[in-house]
């Protein structure tokens, strides 16, 4: 099911949670809404579900205007951050809930068969008789997903689905959700504030800030071509280096970087530790090493430039460098934006 948001607006008392958001989601797509807290991502998800109503704009499901369809008739599957499993029902009863309250009457055997099928899908065979308090957090999240899928939703919506779980479980569940999505091909939107999760899982990442979409694109697009300093910062550690742009080239001292689309004048170069290099001799920004940190997958150099900026630089593990070495920081790539 294709979903289309048109100029959607939502205000809570005086707080403008969502300001004029338009977004198209293709059928079968897996989209992440990524943003810091207060960016409006959860509000957008809840409006798609019908748990909140938009103050302005329209939400279309396929060709149908769903803006005013009440939540129970919208046909969405919603997975809550803290699972929201019914504590007095067993796992199987939780999964069967949607089928039992449905207007469509189903035979008991039919419901039982569907529950068994879903338990298999989420790999919880044999746990149907347990109560939610008797299973682990990761298992509860899978029950929540099975429950949402039981009513054959047109869209699957997940609100910070892995937020309450620890790192290992989170990684496994991520991979598993990707598999399930591949298997079922259901249009899926999930909300997260974790960049890694969004980039890992989604076909497309929609980055939000202060109720607006800042950038959307494939993980590659948003990582390699961030369109603003906000996106650059939000996706990971980034440093801001003041520079001058002349004739499409940004310069800091004798370091030069192509900046074809940046207007002439003062500008800022944004770089990540992996965009930088270190050399003990040659050219670059002169700097002094303050510390070297060794990690299993590389070596990180902490250096202060002569211009007074502290930088972190990822270098190959065999790079010969020690604390208090003098040398030069090189910029291998970076994003240039006009100075704010």
């Amino acid at each position: 099911m294709k979903i289309r948001l048109e100029n959607v607006v939502k205000t809570f008392e005086t707080f403008r949670a969502v300001r004029d958001v338009s977004l198209d989601i293709e059928s079968g797509e897996l989209v992440a809404l990524l943003g810091p807290s207060g960016s409006g991502k959860t509000t957008i998800l809840r409006m798609v579900a019908g748990l909140e109503f938009a103050d302005g704009g329209h939400i279309h499901f396929g060709d149908q205007d769903a803006t005013d369809i009440p939540v129970r008739d919208r046909g969405v599957g919603f997975v809550f951050q803290h699972y929201a499993l019914f504590p007095h029902m067993t796992v199987a009863q939780n999964i069967a809930f949607g089928m039992k309250v449905s207007k469509v009457r189903r035979a008991r055997q039919e419901i039982d068969a569907r529950v068994a099928e879903l338990l298999r899908l989420v790999r919880l065979e044999g746990l149907g008789d347990r109560f939610p308090t008797q299973i682990s957090g990761g298992q509860r999240q899978r029950v929540a997903l099975a429950r949402a899928l039981a009513v054959d939703p047109k869209v699957l919506l997940l609100d910070e689905p892995f937020g309450a779980l620890d790192a290992n479980v989170r990684r496994d569940l991520r991979r598993w959700l990707r598999e399930i999505h591949g298997e079922l091909g259901i249009t899926t939107i999930f909300v997260t504030h974790d960049q890694e999760e969004a980039l890992d899982l989604a076909d497309r990442v929609v980055i939000l800030n202060e109720g607006r979409i800042v950038q959307q694109g494939t993980p590659e697009e948003v990582c390699r071509r961030p369109n603003s300093s906000f996106v650059m910062h939000f996706l990971g550690d980034a440093y801001r280096l003041p520079a001058q742009v002349e004739a499409g080239i940004a310069r800091i001292g004798d370091v030069a970087l192509d900046a074809p689309s940046c207007p002439e004048g003062p500008a800022e170069i944004y770089v990540r530790p992996a965009d930088l290099g270190w050399t003990n001799s040659g050219s670059g920004m002169p700097a002094v090493v303050t510390r070297v940190i060794d990690r299993p997958d590389g070596r990180r150099v902490l250096a202060d430039t002569d211009a007074g900026q502290s930088l972190e630089i990822d270098v190959p593990p065999e790079t010969p460098v020690r604390a208090s070495d003098r040398g030069f920081v090189q910029i291998n790539r970076g994003s240039v934006f006009p100075a704010a």
Binding site: A49, L51, R72, D73, A84, T133, V151
Partner: protein, 268 residues
Amino acid sequence: MPGLPLSLGITLFYVGLIVVLPLAALVFKAASLGPEDYWRIVSSARAVASYRVTVLSAFVATIFNLLFGLALAWVLVRYEFPGKRFVDAIVDLPFALPTAVAGIALTTLFAPNGWFGSILGEIGIKVAYTPLGIMIAMAFTSLPFVVRTVQPVLEDLDPALEEAAQTLGGTDTSIFSRVILPLLVPALLAGVSLSFARSLGEFGAIIFIAGNQPMSTEITALLAFIRLEEYDYQAAAAIASVLLITAFVMLAVTNLLQSRALRYTVRN
């Protein structure tokens, strides 16, 4: 645990002194009658009639409080309205008021020439000096129990549960009956059992409105009191012991039901 022996000792001593000792004295007094005398007293026609009216009235009053108390708790938790805090405070009034005062107030209202009594009288309903009056007095004095046990549970109910049920296609009625109500059952049981126990033993509020006619509107607690007035302590203890046993059985049953209703919280 610091201070455990001392605090344990003090509380056990206190419970023993204030609760167990008087009850034991009651049982002891009743037991000093022979089994035949005991049975004759507790199964006399007047006593049995008093059990009937007491239990029946307590039952009706409790059902009323179950429904009305749930509705009141619901309104106090779910809606905002002017005067909400005032209403919330007023719920406790039946506890704070001396029950005799409540009894006199209710009698004044429901007497044939009272505000309510005169109107109800016109449509042929007599409240004062009938079992209906007893029910009203019982309902009044035990109103806070259901409200105060249900209210905190309702407040802590995760709104996401209802939202989840909505996204799964639940209507308001199916969500209430399948999700909310079952989660309130343990609290409702607790409130109902307290309300019923209080109604069984209520005295002050009832004797003014009941008319106290032996065989029809005489409650068990009053009968025990009358025997006391007659210096027949053994008979008073015997009749009181019936109330005590009823209360014990009822508390045991509700505890059993409650642990059944809460079995989902037990971890493996």
